[in-house]
Structure formats: structure tokens, C-alpha cells
Symmetry: C2
Subunit: 330 residues, 2 copies
DNA sequence: GATCGTCCTGTAAACGCTTACATGTGTGGG
DNA sequence: CCCACACATGTAAGCGTTTACAGGACGATC
């Protein structure tokens, strides 16, 4: 089943069939109708690989994430795919599992499949691997880690805003002994959150009380950090976690210690993953809209692909506190 | 950058380069080494679209799911992709959003991209759409909904086993007034779970007490169903939910009513999504291994693709109760 | 009626690879 | 020394599209 058979059935040349498929305006309506009918009758779907081969455009996009199993990503993936499918693009996904070697594999796969562009939505990114893409002039969008260039754009997430709002909220609730549980410190994005926490504390004259514990952005790390915090002579009255998973771990540790959130300790997360409002109590957290991130990334990629040079290559996603029930005044 | 340039650099013909890439055994080791070096130096990646065009095999697999945002799916997707990538295959994902129209779109996309096979991992499937695949002899694997054929296999999930174990567990804990919250009744898989519940009750001589409430496999449905159950003159002492999301909704409703799990009501879920052990208390549920499902689906698909006719086309995934802390004796 | 332009349609050459078949080279047996 | 044969490599067709270019029909203009 190919374009030739359609041509034969519609009694036209393959060129006309192709033009009809591609909505070229230079086909007589009557002819186009005949072709469309033949397509219908034969149930013909054009072969995208042949199209790609000649046109050079694969209508596929790469989306690289850390781990689809991490609740941060499914929404992101979904929104990104929705955008793509709406515009007749396919997306192929790569999970790096936080592993540079796997990241290299992902990039290779994308290059082989001749994707029209790649969105790298992981917090960590190895510049050496990225060259593989830029060298081939493949449009690339980064999250936090990139430097804008002729074929790449960067999406900054304004972590500081969310952290400041969280701090302000706790402060207004009379908390003064506030702890922060970080994620892996090798991540730029984690350092930004930490720095925002410290600067917020300092702005309120609280810097000497900085309680910082290290987590790993996973549940277990949050629980461990919280246990350390609880062992302190003067435990914090409020805790901000670098992400929701960490906060969920902390929540468990607090419960296990026989304490209650928010009665004994106030707790704030970051990201607003879908389970954040299902915890007991529902978690006050900072919203980082994955939909907005996906839409922005997609738009940035499209702009890059169309080489809209006038377009800026730097975007920012805001973050905001959403109050639920894990914080309370003291 | 194409095979010709590599050929020129290695001073061989394109055929030899192709043979080297495909590990044909009939290339002299010395020549192959020269070719490989040229490939290395030029940083050449073969164009998969061209390969597909001539070989007919795209090395792409389709994976159709309901909604990546539903916590049932990410693990499934991940395991499936892992399998695929290990074997040099790409997977393209389709979200149906529980909508037959979108399912049609997914299938169309997969056909256009000439996938070598499709795994349809949704509970609902429209036979009319499926013909689109079978007509083209595209190997297809179903979950629950398919009938094995020359190009298709079916993976049955043994829901009944899990439900029976759950019931047995509650029974041994002296519960007698046990309710069941279903999902959407148009799903075969939901009807199976419900039937298993009823037959289990009957086997224990409890059939006249069957308390069945309808949910929607989402949190809100679980909460609503639970609220109805709590309004009963004689509320159940234990509840089995058709899936974990439903159980989580029920859990919230129970809490909101000022009652406690498991002290006042025992609760059992189904699926063991990753958040099931993060609820307060951790949810006793029925494990349905998504990894096992993905591995089986992939293996079934591969067998179909290779036309291993001797292979069976019917697989079963077991389900088992995992006890955590949402159940207790009365 | 010749000339020109405008539309529409057809012809055929790519795109980058695989592979059947042809060709060339070296080996051993007669 | 010649032939057969195995083995390595090259030649070229073909996969299903798109698209530059050519060609033909028709109407308008002079």
C-alpha cells in the first residue's frame, strides 16, 4: 500500500497524490477529492520514514527526563506529548535514571532517529554530551542547565520566589526556628533553593539560626534528615523541604516520632506533585507548574526549529506557595 | 554525513560499510576495523529512516496506555522502555485519556510510524479500532481485552486471586460486614474483581450482606462511595477498593468523618501504586506487578514479531495481597 | 490566429540505506 | 598449470516519498 497505488486508483500521478496529502494549494479541488476518496478506500497512510528521508524533517521530538517513575515527570511528559500530538509530531522519551552514561545513550538514540529537536528536562546535564546535539545543529531546550545559543534555549525556574514565599508564610506564622532539607548538592537547582532560603533568613535577621540538613530528593533522604533534626536539643518548629518527596519522608519521620503536623511542626514542600494534597494533612507546598514548563519548553523548541531568530532564548517559569494544611501558627 | 562519506574515508564501498554496521560476518576483520574507525572519526550515526524504508522494520514499538498521569502507568512504561532500549528498539507512547477517539488517533500514529508491534495496556479497547492493526498484520498485545490470533496475544491478569486473598485476610481478622467499591462497570476487569468479591463472599456464606458501592477508579469516586457507605445504618467494618486511588479517596473520607483506619475501619486497595505505602497508615493492598506486566508484554510482542508460532499467545499475571497497616482484627 | 501567461499535472531525480547479484582474488586439488 | 570454489568486496536496484522542472490545456490579449 503506497502512494503509487493511490495514484493508479485516482488516475493521477504520484506527485498529485503527494500534493494532495500535503495540502498543496495547487491541486484542483475535483482532483483532490478523487485522490482523497482513493486514499479513503484504500485506507492509505503515508509512510513517515520515506517522508522523513526526503524532507529531512522527522516530525519527532526528543524528551529527556530523569525518571518517569519520579512523580515530578508524568505531568510534564503528558503536557509535552499533548502539544506535540496536536501538531502532528511524535515524541520519543529518554529516561536517564540520573546517570550520565544513560544520558549519552538517550542522545544517541535521538540523533539516530533524526529528531527535529530535543528538550532536556533533567536537572543535571553533561556539557560534553550536549555537544553531540549542538554539533549537529539540533535545536535543544534545557531546564536550568543550559546556555542559550543559536540552536538552544534555556528555561529558568524561579525557585527563589517560591522559597521566599514559603519563608514569608512561616515567618508570618511566628516561626523563627526554621530548617531546610536540601537535595543533592551537586545540582545547581538545589543550590539555588538553598541560597534563597539562606538569603531569606538573613533578610529577616535570622541567619545565625540556619538549620540545614541534607536530603537526596527522595523519601528516604527526607526521613533521615528529619530524624536528625528531631534529635536536636532545639528542634525546628518549621521545616521547608527542597522537594515534595523529601517533605513526604519528613512527614513520615515526624509521625513516627509521635509528633503531629502541623500541631508540633509545620512543613512545606516544593513542586506540588499530585500526591502532595493527598498526604495527611495535605501538604502546603510550592507549585512549579509542569504544564507551564512543558508548554514553554515546547514553544521554545518550535521557535528554535523554525529559526525565529527574533525570539528570545531565555524563559522563566514562576513558582508560588500554595497553602494547604501542613502549616500553622505558633 | 552518510554512508557514502564513510565509505570514501575507509576506501571501501557503501555495501561494506553497511555490512560492517550490521555485523555481517562476511566482512574481513581488517576491513571492518577500518570502517569502524572511519565511522568513529566522522561521528557517523546511520539514518534509521532510511534503514526502515528498505528493511521494512522500524525498530519502534507502540505502547498505548490510558494516562501516564495515572500512577498505575509510569512503572509500566519504564519497564517496557527499558526492555526496548536494551534491544535497540524505540517506543512511542500513546495516551488515550480513556477516550476511544483518542485511541483511534494513537493507533493511526503508530501505523503511520510503521511500528513493529503495539502493546495496548488499557483496560478498555474498541474492537473496531483494533482491526486497523490486525488488518495490517501488526503484532499486538492486549491486556485483558484481547483474543489471541495469528498476530495478537493476550495477557490476562488474575484479579480474582488478589481479591480472594484480600477477602480471606479480612475474614481471618473476623470482619463479616465487608464492602466493595467498584470502578467503572463497563470495564471487564472491574466486573471480574466484583464477581470475585461476590463469589468469595458466597463461599463464606455471607452473600446476603453484599455491600457494593460504585466508584470510578479515581480518588473522588472512592471518597464519594465511602461517604455513602458511612451513612449506612450499619456501616461496613472493612472495605475493599477496586484500585488504590479509590482506596485513597476512601481513606480521606474516613478521616474526614472523624474515624480511623484501621481502628474503626479496615481498608484494602488494589494495584500497589507507589504511593500506597506512603499513606497514613500504609495501605494494605494487592500487588499487580507492573514490571512483570511490562516484561511479559514485551516478550509476547517479540515472540509475535519473530512469528514464533510455537509460542503460546496467552499469558497470566498473578496478583497477591501485601499486608501493611490499614487492616486490623475486630 | 499567434503569443503569452496561468493553472494544473506529470516525469524523474533525489533522500540514505540494504541486499541480490556480479566481480575479483586467492587457495587447493587434479 | 588450470579449474573450481570459497571468500571478500563492489555495483546497482529499490524502498516510498517530495519536489524541481517540464509539459499541456486553456483563456486572454493583441
Amino acid at each position: 500500500m503506497n502512494i503509487k497505488e493511490v495514484a493508479k486508483r485516482a488516475k493521477v500521478s504520484t506527485a498529485t497524490v503527494s500534493r494532495t496529502i500535503n495540502d498543496s494549494e495547487k491541486v484542483k479541488p475535483g482532483t483532490a477529492a478523487r485522490v482523497r476518496q482513493a486514499i479513503e478506500e484504500l485506507n492509505f497512510y503515508p509512510n513517515t520514514h520515506a517522508r522523513t528521508l526526503v524532507s529531512g524533517r522527522s516530525r519527532m521530538l526528543g524528551l529527556i527526563i530523569s525518571d518517569i517513575t519520579n512523580p515530578f515527570f508524568p505531568e510534564l511528559v503528558k503536557s509535552f506529548e499533548d502539544q506535540a500530538v496536536q501538531r502532528g509530531q511524535e515524541v520519543i522519551i529518554g529516561n536517564t535514571d540520573y546517570n550520565p552514561k544513560r544520558m549519552a545513550g538517550c542522545i544517541r538514540r535521538m540523533v539516530e532517529r533524526k529528531v527535529d529537536g530535543v528538550a532536556i528536562m533533567t536537572s543535571e546535564a553533561d556539557p560534553a554530551l550536549i555537544t553531540e546535539l549542538t554539533r549537529r545543529n539540533i535545536p535543544t531546550v534545557f531546564m536550568d542547565t543550559g546556555k542559550p545559543g543559536p540552536h538552544s534555549a534555556n528555561i529558568r525556574i524561579d525557585y527563589a520566589q517560591g522559597i521566599h514565599e514559603a519563608l514569608q508564610h512561616l515567618f508570618s506564622l511566628n516561626h523563627r526556628r526554621i530548617a531546610f532539607i536540601t537535595g543533592p548538592m551537586n545540582l545547581e537547582s538545589v543550590r539555588i533553593r538553598r541560597a534563597a532560603f539562606l538569603s531569606g533568613l538573613k533578610a529577616r535577621g535570622l541567619s545565625e539560626r540556619a538549620l540545614i540538613e541534607k536530603g537526596d530528593h527522595r523519601i528516604e533522604g527526607g526521613a533521615m534528615a528529619m530524624r536528625s533534626l528531631l534529635k536536636l536539643a532545639q528542634p525546628p518548629t518549621a521545616v521547608i523541604a527542597s522537594n515534595d518527596l523529601t517533605a513526604i519522608g519528613a512527614l513520615g519521620a515526624i509521625h513516627d516520632a509521635g509528633l503531629k503536623v502541623p500541631d508540633d511542626i509545620s512543613l512545606i514542600g516544593f513542586d506540588d506533585i499530585s500526591f502532595a494534597h493527598l498526604t495527611q494533612p495535605p501538604l502546603t507546598t510550592v507549585i512549579l507548574s509542569r504544564t507551564q514548563l512543558a508548554v514553554t519548553a515546547f514553544a521554545a523548541l518550535e521557535a528554535l526549529i523554525r529559526k525565529e531568530d527574533g525570539s528570545h532564548a531565555d524563559y522563566t517559569i514562576p513558582t508560588h506557595l500554595v497553602m494547604r494544611r501542613s502549616t500553622r501558627a505558633i
